[in-house]
Amino acid sequence: MTPLLAALPPVTVQHYLLLSGLLFAVGLVGVLFRRNIIIVLMCLELMLSAANLAFVAFSRVHGNLQGQVMVFFSIAVAAAEAAVALSIIIALYRARGGVDVEDAAEMKG
């Protein structure tokens, strides 16, 4: 195991940030183009996780805990947000029998 691992290039902060950026981009594309509100919500979570990953990576680079503390906050807020969002989705489903975001356009000016 060890020689194999040694043969690979070392994992640097750039790799983490690249992964974080990819995750964020995937999430963003999902939010922009998917119509199912549950998928949209999941993509939002994905974007949050991307941000969290970047935080942790920077925490590691700088050698302090500030980034990790921020991630705990972020996860707590995300949990609350998920609870609220899911209840809205249930209410939406009950009201119109579907979860397509394009259908909920009553606010058109």
Binding site: L32, V40, E102
Partner: protein
């Protein structure tokens, strides 16, 4: 005589106001009481005036003949306006005219207005007028004068339009009010100009720029030269001369001088006692009184005095010619009043305050008498047209004889009041400091015209056969007694100013006012040749008038045909009313329509509508952004974030480069 007598002066002012309040607010249902209150308010004023006048005339050598009592009214920073009473010979003489003529007219009104619906209102308005008029008379400063000036205008409006059911009365009231606004605009501008320029002088410090006494003292000390030097010339005139002429504008409006005289004949729509009190004896004389009060403003500027004299002379002549052809008895008297007011203004311009005030005093008595006589005649005939009268001599002996006395005084029959005052004006035109031959001719010709139209009016009203309806009868005693009461001063008051009695004029000579009204030094001379010439002119006019309308030796109708264009010109009052109508209807209306067009099309359609259209269009455009779709919002949020990030990166890069 000092300020310890101030309560009497305040009583003159406030007794009529109290009467107006009581008559107007408290006893509206009890007509007799309203009249009694009004008459007693006026009588209190008369008694106080007589007492103060006696004290002033009885003042010994070196003792002041007048006093001023002021209270602070408005204080704002450096500006102080006072409210006060001045009791000097000038103001007391005028107060005597107002209360002395007013009291009999109030009594007369009891009979004249008997049975009228607005009986209580009439006496309330009349008392309000007396208060306002006495406010002008007793005023100690320009601001107070102006306030009461407007109050007089208001009471005049109320009384001209007293029978407000009649359209012509309403129109006449409005006309009087608006024409007076023109003059008052000049008056107020003059006051502001004078106070502003005086108050800005360092040498004026410590004085009140509104106060007559302070201003007069400043002018006497040569302040007008400083004033003229300190300020730039406006309209080619030094500022103090311009201020004097602007203040004169107020007098032109109130005293109905050319070209603002047009309201006075129409004002005859009011009840006859109103015509007698306000539009003959007192209110219209307020302008003359005011010029006398501020005569110090005019004194240093002979050109200003010249302008005043010519305005007066022009008015005197023009009004007398119009009076020749009027057929309404009150209109004849109205134009006669205009003419005599012109005489007074001319006198002030020629000779100063004394001659003008003298004629004002005598005129007040005999013209009020003539108006009350005409009221008595109208009361009897129920018509104002002299063509529907005639032969009233026998039916109304009291009215007839008092009318004859009033006419004699107006025509200036030697010995009557008008003779002395008119003679003094002619003497000023012939021999005075600013003697002017053209104005002397105007004065003499006007005297002839006066005699002509008065004898025409007398002949048509009281002689010949009665041409009206019904049977005219003499008015009740409550109306004829005031006539006799006024006839006495109409005959005699002139003797007070007769130069050969009392060592010159004790009343019109000496220290005449606290504002130092200029008087002639030494006893005024009596010019016998001039008096004879003046009387000859009057006699010629009178005889001609009698030949045409009394004895009928000359055919009036034929002459009317022969002079038809002239007759039309006169009976249409020189087309001045038409000219003013044209001015308002065509010129002013044209300007108004242009402004209206500009407002409707440029301001409203362009600016106002344009702004609202722009707001609406931008709202409509922006509303497209609100799609209701979450995806759109996310895209906007994304675009915003990209912009922010781009901006941060770019500015960081530029900062790094810099």
């Amino acid at each position: 005589m000092g300020p310890e007598l101030a309560p009497f002066a305040w009583a003159i002012l406030f007794a009529p106001l109290a009467a107006a309040g009581v008559a107007g607010l408290l006893v509206r249902r009890r007509r007799g009481l309203a009249a009694a209150v009004a008459v007693s308010g006026m009588a209190v004023g008369l008694l106080c005036t007589l007492y103060l006048l006696a004290r002033s005339l009885g003042a010994g050598e070196g003792e002041p003949t007048g006093f001023v009592h002021n209270v602070d009214w408005i204080r704002a920073g450096a500006f102080t306006a006072r409210f006060g009473v001045v009791a000097d010979r000038l103001s007391l003489l005028m107060a005597l005219v107002v209360t002395g003529v007013g009291t009999p007219i109030f009594v007369y009104s009891i009979g004249y207005m008997h049975g009228d619906e607005g009986y209580g209102r009439f006496f309330a308005c009349l008392s309000l007028f007396a208060f306002s008029m006495l406010g002008i008379v007793l005023s100690t400063n320009l601001l107070q004068t102006f306030v009461f000036w407007e109050l007089v205008g208001l009471s005049s409006y109320l009384l001209i339009g007293f029978w407000f059911g009649k359209d012509s009365a309403v129109e006449a009231g409005k006309k009087a009010f608006m024409v007076n606004r023109v003059g008052d605009f000049g008056f107020l501008t003059g006051i502001i100009l004078l106070c502003w320029s005086a108050a800005s002088l360092p040498s004026f410090a410590g004085r009140n720029p509104l106060d007559f006494a302070d201003l007069a003292a400043f002018y006497r000390a040569g302040g007008y030269e400083e004033l003229a030097k300190a300020s730039p010339h406006l309209l080619g005139l030094p500022v103090p001369a311009l201020a004097a002429l602007l203040v004169f504008c107020g007098a032109v409006g109130k005293s109905a001088q050319f070209p603002l005289h047009v309201w006075l004949p129409d004002a005859m729509e009011g009840p006859t006692p109103v015509s007698a009190l306000m539009h003959a004896a007192t209110m219209v004389a307020a302008g003359v009184y005011m010029i006398c009060r501020v005569f110090f403003l005019f004194e240093p500027f002979p050109e200003a005095l010249h302008a005043v004299a010519w305005i007066g002379g022009l008015t005197a002549f023009m009004a007398a010619t119009i009076a020749l052809v009027q057929t309404d008895i009150k209109k004849v008297l109205a134009y006669s009043t205009l003419s005599q007011l012109g005489y007074m203004v001319m006198a002030v311009g020629l000779a100063g305050a004394t001659a003008g005030m003298f004629h004002l005093t005598t005129h007040a008595f005999f013209k009020a008498l003539l108006f009350l006589c005409s009221g008595s005649v109208i009361h009897a005939c129920h018509s104002q047209e002299i063509t529907e009268m005639g032969g009233l001599r026998k039916a109304m002996p009291s009215t007839f004889w008092t009318w004859i006395i009033g006419t004699a005084a107006l025509v200036a029959v030697p010995g009557t009041a008008g003779f002395f005052s008119k003679d003094e004006i002619l003497a000023a035109a012939a021999h005075g400091e600013h003697a002017s031959l053209p104005l002397l001719v105007v004065g003499l010709v006007t005297a002839g015209l006066t005699a002509f139209y008065m004898l025409r009016c007398t002949a048509l009203t009281f002689f010949g056969e009665y041409r009206g309806h019904g049977h005219p009868h003499e008015s009740p005693a409550v109306m004829t007694l005031p006539l006799w009461f006024l006839a006495v001063p109409a005959l005699l008051v002139g003797w007070l100013g007769f130069p050969l009695l009392f060592h010159g004029h004790p009343w019109f000579q000496g220290e005449f006012g606290i504002t130092g009204v200029k008087v002639h030094e030494g006893p005024h001379e009596f010019h016998l040749p001039l008096a004879l010439v003046g009387t000859a002119f009057a006699a010629a006019g009178g005889i001609l008038g009698w030949m045409v309308f009394g004895a009928r030796r000359i055919d009036a109708a034929a002459w009317k045909e022969r002079l038809l264009p002239l007759h039309t010109l006169l009976s249409r009052k020189y087309f001045l009313d038409e000219f003013y109508l044209w001015l308002v209807r065509t010129v002013q209306q044209g300007i108004a329509e242009c402004s209206d067009f500009f407002e409707q099309n440029v301001l409203i359609r362009g600016v106002v509508d344009g702004l609202s259209a722009a707001v609406k269009a931008s709202g409509r455009a922006l509303r497209e952004l609100q799609t209701g779709s979450i995806h759109t919002y996310v895209r906007f949020a994304l675009a915003g974030s990209v912009l922010v990030v781009a901006w941060v990166i770019l500015s960081a890069a530029r900062g790094g480069n810099g």
